[in-house]
Every structure is written in structure tokens, then in C-alpha cells.
Amino acid sequence: MSATPGSVSIESDVVFGSAGDLELKGDIYHPPAALNKRTAVIHVYGGGFERGNRVQAGDAAHKFAERGYPSLTVWHRLTHEGKWPAPVHDVKTAIRWARANAGRLAIDATKIAVSGYSSGGQLALIVAGSANLSELEGDGGNAGRGTEVAACVAYYVGGPVSRLSNGEDHPVMPPGSSDEAYRAADAITYVRPGFPPTALLHSTTDHLAPFELSLGFFHALRDAGAKAELHLFEGLSHIFDRYPEFGSACADLCDLFLDRNVVDPRDYPPHTPSRPGRARRA
């Protein structure tokens, strides 16, 4: 672990759990101590469950850490390492680990958020909506700790897994998966009152994951009475936060969102226009 005062320090290859014989590893991005908001963010990479690795979420994790959030990029198993719900188990294992290691992360154990990217966004939303649901918990470590999250962020969320056009199962799904199994792998299934506050960020010219996924999820959360935020950027593609100016803008929006919903939860009063006569007399 390297640290210079005032900068983000990175602790690599931290084992946060196991999956059979595999050790699950993550990288911790520690904020400068003076900026610590005592709220952790678990970052979930994308790649369609078939490829990708946690390094992809490193830039975002760094940006969140710069803004005061201890951040953990976590490995989840890919198609060739484990079938559904293996990736959900692994992300939940990371949440339990963070809760059990609140002191090490210098966080409040009730303040853990999850942020996912592309297919990782779909995973993050599933995890946010399925707290402590026994069949999705797995046995990766720190059994008995809760997996509830205080908020969820999804960048350019990827669509739920579905059968291939030839009728075969999606590679991440166990062969012969039922319709019910596919529904259980779709975040929209878990939308309900009490879904954690959720921010969705997407670009409208994303040809890999249409922005309607975020727009539809936003409406579903609102209809359920959950707190939701939506940012639709124009003229950018999938993974638009790779452009530094947009990566910073997204991290700023997430900071504003997490700060008022998790770090220091607060409501804003409705605007009441002053009546001209009264205002003048004052």
C-alpha cells in the first residue's frame, strides 16, 4: 500500500472472499483521510458476463475515492468460471466483506453503495434490489452479514441476460434455465417500494445498450415510489466516461447524489415562491 497525504492510495489484490477454490480479489482505493465521507462504493465491472476484469472499473473507483468514497473494485466470476447466479454471489460477498471490514475501510457499516458499469450495472441493480435474499447470497465468506446497500448507481446499464436468437441459453445461464430463472436474472423483477435510492447515467447514442433501459428503469422505480435519478447525455457512446471530462462530470453527479442520500441524508424543502407584495414589505 502506497500513500502520500492528500492523494488516493491503492491497496491491490485484497482477498475478499472465495468461490470454490478461487480466491476473490479486489482493489481498494482509499480516499485522502481528510476527505473520507465514511461511505464505501463497491464497483462492478462490465463485459457482458463473458469478459472483462475489475481494472476496467479502476478509473471510476479512483474518481470516487478522490471525492471521499473508499472504493472497492471487485472481481466477479465470468461465464467460464461459474454460471448464474455466481456473479451475484460474488458481488454480495464483496458487500459482506466491506461491512465486516468497516473499520479497515474507515466507513460507517450502514453506508455501503454499489456502482456498476454496463452488465455490471445490471448486476448492481439486482444486488441493490435483492438484499439478504437467501438464494442469491452464496457462501463466499462473511456469512451472516447483511447485503443491503444504501444506494445504487448504474452507468450505461446493459440489458438483462436473455436466450440467444437460436433459442439456446445465454452463456452465463445454466443450460435449460426456465423463464422464471431468466426473470430472476433481470433487475426489473426486484423493483419495489423500498428499493434503495438509485442513479442511472446513460448516453442517448449508446448502440450497445440502448438508453431506453435506463429511462424505463427510472420510470419503474418512480412508479414503485422509490427514489431515482436519471442523467441522459447526448451524442456519446457506451462507456462514455472514458473521456475524462465526462468521467469527472459523472463522478460529480454521483457525489452529489450519494452525499445527500447516504453520507448526510437530507431532504430539500419545496420551493415556495415569494409573493411580490410580501417580499417588498419585508
Binding site: 462490465g46 463485459g47 457482458g48 458476463f49 463473458e50 469478459r51 454496463s118 452488465s119 450505461y156 446493459g158 440489458g159 435510492p197 442513479a199 442517448t204 448502440h207 450497445l208 445498450a209 427510472f218 418512480r222 427514489k227 431515482a228 435519478e229 436519471l230 442523467h231 441522459l232 447525455f233 447526448e234 451524442g235 456519446l236 457512446s237 457506451h238 462507456i239 462514455f240 473521456y243 471530462e245 465526462f246 462530470a249 460529480d252 453527479l253 452529489l256 447524489f257 452525499d259 445527500r260 442520500n261 431532504d267 430539500y268 424543502p269 419545496p270 420551493h271 415562491p273 411580490p276
Partner: protein, 280 residues
């Protein structure tokens, strides 16, 4: 008056730009710090339910200050209040301000084709209508700078309000008693959501009731192929940008938007084709 203010921004106050009926119309100009100029002007339109408000209101002046610090020439325009002046007098006044800005592009140090409009609440509705009605003779009015185009290159709509029939408040103040359904439709930005509408960014809090018409407007602009952004801040009320942090946020997003659509037009590359076959 030309004073160096905070952030190196220079202010000029109360320049007469035209006339609305018997009323002299004035505007304020904020110029960006030397070296930061983006040669793009933003005309700001205050809110206040059509019956009150001024170019000096805090949400407007703070936004104008922040955008000026980011390199934009900001013009805060007056327009006539209802009920003394009825629709479309406000549009006539604001189009005169846009025409004045274009006619004075050299003086302001901006390119004549790089003029955007920003509006707040009722001013957001007025800004959107101005943006969607370039070249419509009946909405130009005769407030000054005749013969100059009132087209804008982009629109920044902060929690834009609406005029609707049956509202006893602002709408009845601004609309003539004998207004027809067509007159009401002419006040609705949705009426103008068609190809050619300028690039538009919309901000709204999710606790602000204007979220419904503004989300519909956004969806209509997308359908029409208009570059459009929508930013809905969870739990935030009307005029949320007065709260600490939120004005900075909307200004950052406006700068990113104006910079790539107006000041320095550019296209961002797609996600590498090599990886486009991958499942999301």
C-alpha cells in the same frame, strides 16, 4: 459601466436593447475573463410565473456568473411582465434581445452563429419557445434590431414551466381572456419538438411537478432526432440549483453541452468497433 468583478468577469449593466410597447427594455452583459473566451453568447431568461422576477434574480445571476467564468458571454435580458403585457409580448421582447445579441456579436466578442438561450422556470418555457420558433414572423415583434435572425444554436432549459388552460395563477395572467386552444398550444414547447429544433438540455428535480411535461418534451425531441439531454435530480424541488453544489453541477453539464454542440462542435468517437460485437 464596466467593472472587473469576481472571477475576472466584467459586468455591463442596463444596456437598452429595444422597446416593448412603451417600455424600454434593458439587459446586463457578463464578459468572461481574458483568455477564456469561447466566442459563444448565452441569453438568460428569468422566471417568476410571468408576473414577476427580474434579470437580477439570484438563480440567474449565479448561473450567468458561473458560465461567464467558464468562457461564455452571458446576457441577462428583461422582458415585460404579465398581466400588463400578454402573450406573445414576452417572446417578442426576448427575440429582440437575441437579435440585439446577434447584431452586436462583434462588440460582445462572440460569433454571430453561436448564440444560445437559457431560461429558468417560466423563463425556461419562454426560452424553449424562442428556440423552437426561429423565423416565425408573427413571434418576432418589432422591439428592435429588425431584420436580424432570432435563431439560437442551443437551449438550456432549467425546470421549465408551462402555461395551461384552467390554471388560475400564472397562465391566466399571461394569456388573453379570449385565448383559443391554438393560442395555448402555441405556448407549449412540445408543439415545436420537430427536426431542426436546436440542441437542448433540460434540468428538473424529481420532486418538481414539471418533471412530467419535461420528460415528455425530452422524449419528443429524441423522437425528432434533436440532440437533447435530460438531467433529473432525485428528490430535488423547483429551482434546486440555488442549493449548494447543484448550480455548480448544472453549470458543468451546460459547459460540456455548449462546448461540444456550439463553441467547439465535435463528434465523440463510438465505442471501439472491435468490441462492439461484445454483449453489453
Amino acid at each position: 459601466m464596466n467593472a472587473n468583478g469576481p472571477g475576472g468577469v466584467k459586468a455591463e449593466k442596463d444596456i437598452v436593447f429595444g422597446r416593448g410597447g412603451d417600455t424600454e427594455l434593458r439587459l446586463d452583459v457578463l464578459r468572461p475573463p481574458a483568455g477564456s473566451e469561447k466566442r459563444t453568447a448565452v441569453v438568460h431568461v428569468f422566471g417568476g410565473g410571468y408576473t414577476r422576477g427580474s434579470k437580477e434574480d439570484g438563480y440567474l445571476t449565479r448561473n450567468a456568473q458561473r458560465l461567464a467564468e467558464r468562457g461564455y458571454v452571458c446576457v441577462a435580458s428583461a422582458y415585460r411582465h404579465a398581466p400588463g403585457a400578454k402573450w406573445p409580448a414576452q417572446i417578442h421582447d426576448l427575440k429582440a434581445a437575441i437579435r440585439w445579441t446577434r447584431a452586436n456579436a462583434g462588440y460582445l466578442g462572440v460569433d454571430a452563429d453561436k448564440i444560445a438561450i437559457a431560461g429558468y422556470s417560466a423563463g425556461g418555457q419562454l426560452a424553449l419557445v424562442c428556440a423552437g420558433t426561429a423565423g416565425m414572423a408573427e413571434l418576432e415583434g418589432d422591439g428592435g434590431s429588425a431584420g436580424v435572425s432570432s435563431a439560437v444554436a442551443a437551449c438550456l432549459a432549467y425546470y421549465p414551466a408551462r402555461v395551461w388552460r384552467g390554471d388560475e395563477g400564472p397562465s391566466s395572467a399571461i394569456m388573453p381572456d379570449d385565448a383559443s386552444d391554438g393560442d395555448y398550444a402555441a405556448t407549449d414547447p412540445l408543439t415545436y419538438a420537430a427536426p431542426g429544433f436546436p440542441p437542448t438540455i433540460i434540468f428538473n428535480g424529481t420532486a418538481d411537478p414539471f418533471i412530467e411535461p419535461n420528460t415528455r418534451l425530452y422524449e419528443a425531441l429524441q423522437q425528432a432526432g434533436v440532440p437533447a439531454e435530460l438531467h433529473l435530480y432525485a428528490g430535488m424541488p423547483h429551482i434546486f440549483d440555488l442549493h449548494p453544489g447543484f448550480g455548480e453541477s448544472t453549470s458543468e453539464l451546460c459547459d460540456l453541452f455548449l462546448d461540444r454542440y456550439v463553441a467547439n462542435p465535435r463528434v465523440y468517437e463510438g465505442f471501439p468497433r472491435r468490441q462492439q460485437a461484445a454483449r453489453a
